[in-house]
């Protein structure tokens, strides 16, 4: 079983996170935690100094965190983006696609199940922020660069 999963080079950020409110106040912190329902765009002015953004999933069915993650990556955030809370093995693939690169679920994940999930789909239909080429780009390599 795995309690913490990272797809980043090197050590995970250890710094404790602060709330969005205290971060955007006068904090010198470089790690922040977004709760479901908080606006990830409030962080956009500070992306350069952030090393870690934690996005909390209070329940697996609460999908707001997927939008929060993608918004941060679309804005160019390159630091660690960590999914925490009710994160299940069957959600890891979609979360990876939305830009999460580390995971600290409430309940440890089965390594084999994670491995199988990550390798199951060779192709994806949408362009997202994970750099994977969507099927439509593979179908038309002459017209779609990158």
């Amino acid at each position: 079983m795995v309690e913490f999963l990272s797809f980043r080079e090197g050590e995970a950020t250890q710094e404790p996170t602060v709330t969005v409110e205290s971060f955007t106040g006068q904090s010198n912190s470089t790690a922040v935690r977004i709760e479901a329902g908080e606006d990830a765009r409030e962080l956009l002015p500070y992306l350069d100094r952030l090393a870690l953004v934690e996005v909390n999933f209070p329940a697996f069915g609460d999908g707001r965190g997927y939008s929060a993650a993608r918004i941060l990556r679309e804005a160019g955030y390159v630091g660690e983006l960590r999914a925490v809370g009710d994160v299940l093995v069957d959600q890891i693939v979609a979360m990876r696609r939305c830009g999460f690169d580390s995971f600290h679920p409430d309940k440890a994940l089965d390594d084999d199940a994670v491995e199988r999930a990550l390798n199951r789909y060779a192709d994806v239909y949408q362009k997202s922020v994970d750099g994977r080429r969507p099927v439509w780009a593979k179908r038309h390599p002459e017209t779609v660069n990158g």
Partner: protein
């Protein structure tokens, strides 16, 4: 017909593998039912009153005969010999064993079918017009866009855990045969000069708070539809209500924000989305479009139909619609026989219709949201032969859009959410109004029954609608008048206190009597209701 390439096939095959893995974990006890539930619901597998129900996607309602035959085979092998066509143009099997579900999906994958996103809080099967590609009045065949959106919405990483389910419809005609404005998002393809784009309607829907979707944009260029939808969905995913399941659909967000504010937020997000390169290139639409190009029609076919056989002539008048190709016709097959279960077809009937599609309809058929089937490309010269075969199989009912062409949800006979039984009521009504002369006299009259407030039977959109509720442990039926799911979309109004099962049948008879007494030349039931209002009907029912 769209055909999978190796990418499409590998994605569907991988889904079968994934679901098999999930079912095995469940059967081995590694997953509890609570943990398994969201996983099976992502794949159309519901635990109903008596068994598992599997809902199979029929994208934009189009099927080949090979696919139809497979649906019959599954009904025979894994169900009790029946399939049920739904108001989402899908098919449901009501008697499925959990251990069989992965094998069924594997069989479906061999004919390029799946059950992906037929349930769950995600983007559901894309619906469209059953006359797509053959309607004379369409701007373009909407199905290439529907297929593009099928692919875009399949396993969309950001929009798989939305506040609630999300239904998208694409049409391209002035006549709305798909209840487009009762979808979470409705797209109507239009032309501006030579350019094709979409009018967009958002926040329509039925359920306990029915709404006709307002227009939020008059033109999205065809190459930007994906990024525009990403914007619509992102605003909804971030701000749609998650505190109350009954207020979680996008219609509530649009209503609470106000249309103008929702539009403003979508436009702001769209401006951002357009910079991200999310739209497939025009070449992708160009790749998909030829799959839907008109089949190889014969030219110089006769348009005359021999009407010597009276029963056949009556069927032609009711079930056959104009095709844009001379010498061809569109055949509607009724799944509403007198006393039958609306939308049900036996495995033998499914096989027969597959054969008819192969032999007489250029290998293609359609499912309608009114739970009927369509053979879209029939030579007029073949109509009589088709009718005879349908008649032998009990499929030659001539009641399209008449009072016995009833839409009904599965109701309390199957569904764990239902408060009342829809099917026995539909059967009683179809028997009460069975006389062909009487039905013909009543004319177009769309009767729709839901067994609970979730409105799967589209009762809000019925010219006459019935809603089954539970009143202190007793089934009770409310009556609504004046709804429409067509281009003149409107929501039905409740007449007053509800009725027993027999009482509501009697009340509907009184309603139709008022219509017959008060109608003016050429008026349908709905027109008369709109002209004279609720009062005379109410007096007749409760007076």
């Amino acid at each position: 017909m769209y055909r999978y390439d190796s990418y499409d096939q590998s994605i569907v095959d991988a889904r079968v593998d994934e679901f098999r893995d999930q079912v095995q974990r469940r059967l081995a006890g590694h997953l509890t039912e609570d943990q398994f539930k969201p996983l099976r619901l992502m794949n159309g597998l519901y635990l109903q009153l008596h068994a598992y129900m599997l809902r199979v996607a029929i994208p934009y309602g189009t099927l080949s005969s090979r696919q139809m035959r497979k649906l019959g085979e599954i009904a025979r092998k894994y169900d009790r010999g029946y399939g049920h066509f739904t108001t989402r143009t899908n098919i449901q099997y009501n008697w499925i064993k959990l251990a069989d579900a992965p094998d069924i999906l594997a069989e479906l994958a061999t004919v390029e079918m799946h059950a992906i996103q037929t349930s769950g809080n995600c983007i559901r099967n894309i619906s469209s017009d059953q006359y797509a590609g053959v309607a004379a009045d369409e701007v373009a065949d909407p199905r290439p866009w529907a297929e593009l959106l099928r692919q875009w919405s399949t396993f969309h990483p950001e929009f798989t855990y939305l506040p609630r389910k999300f239904k998208i419809c694409v049409i391209a005609s002035e006549d709305d045969r798909a209840a487009m404005r009762l979808h979470d998002i409705g797209l109507k393809l239009v032309k501006r000069g030579d350019a094709i784009g979409a009018e967009v309607y958002a926040g329509g829907g039925m359920g306990r708070t029915p709404m006709v979707g307002p227009q939020i944009r008059d033109f999205v260029p065809e190459d930007e539809i994906v990024s525009y939808l990403e914007a619509c969905l992102r605003v909804y995913n971030r701000y749609g209500r998650r505190d109350n399941k009954f207020k979680a659909r996008i219609k509530i967000l649009v209503h609470e924000l106000g249309v103008e504010e929702y539009k403003r937020q979508v436009e702001e997000e769209f401006a951002h989305m357009k910079t991200l390169g999310l739209n497939p290139p025009r070449e992708e639409l160009d790749r998909i479009r030829p799959f839907f190009a008109g089949p190889a029609y014969e030219h110089g076919l006769p348009d005359a139909i021999d009407r010597g056989d009276l029963a056949f002539a009556l069927w032609v008048d009711r079930q056959v619609a104009a095709h844009r190709q001379p010498g061809y016709a569109i055949v509607n097959i009724s799944l509403k026989p007198t006393g039958g279960i609306p939308g049900d077809a036996s495995a033998d009937q499914i096989d027969l219709i597959a054969d008819l599609a192969e032999q007489y309809s250029l290998d293609e058929l359609r499912v309608t949201h009114a739970q009927n089937l369509v053979l879209p490309h029939v030579r007029k010269a073949d109509l009589h032969a088709i009718w005879r075969k349908l008649d032998e199989a009990g499929l030659a009912e001539a009641n399209l859009d008449l009072i016995t062409d009833i839409i009904a949800c599965p109701g309390l006979d199957y569904c764990s959410l239902a408060n009342a039984r829809s099917i026995p009521l539909a059967q009683k009504l179809s028997e009460r109004f069975a006389s062909p002369e009487r039905q013909k006299d009543l004319g177009e009259l769309k009767l729709k029954i839901s067994g609970c407030i979730n409105a799967c039977g589209h009762h809000h959109a019925g010219h006459i609608g019935i809603l089954g509720v539970d009143r202190k442990g007793v089934e009770n039926f409310q009556l609504l008048l004046g709804g429409s799911g067509a281009e003149d979309a409107s929501l039905g109004q409740i007449t007053g206190p509800g009725f027993s099962e027999d009482g509501v049948v009697d009340a509907i008879e009184k309603v139709t009597d008022i219509y017959l007494a008060q109608r003016e030349q050429g008026e349908r039931f709905l027109d008369t209701y709109r002209r004279i209002g609720m009062k005379p009907f109410k007096e007749a029912i409760y007076g």
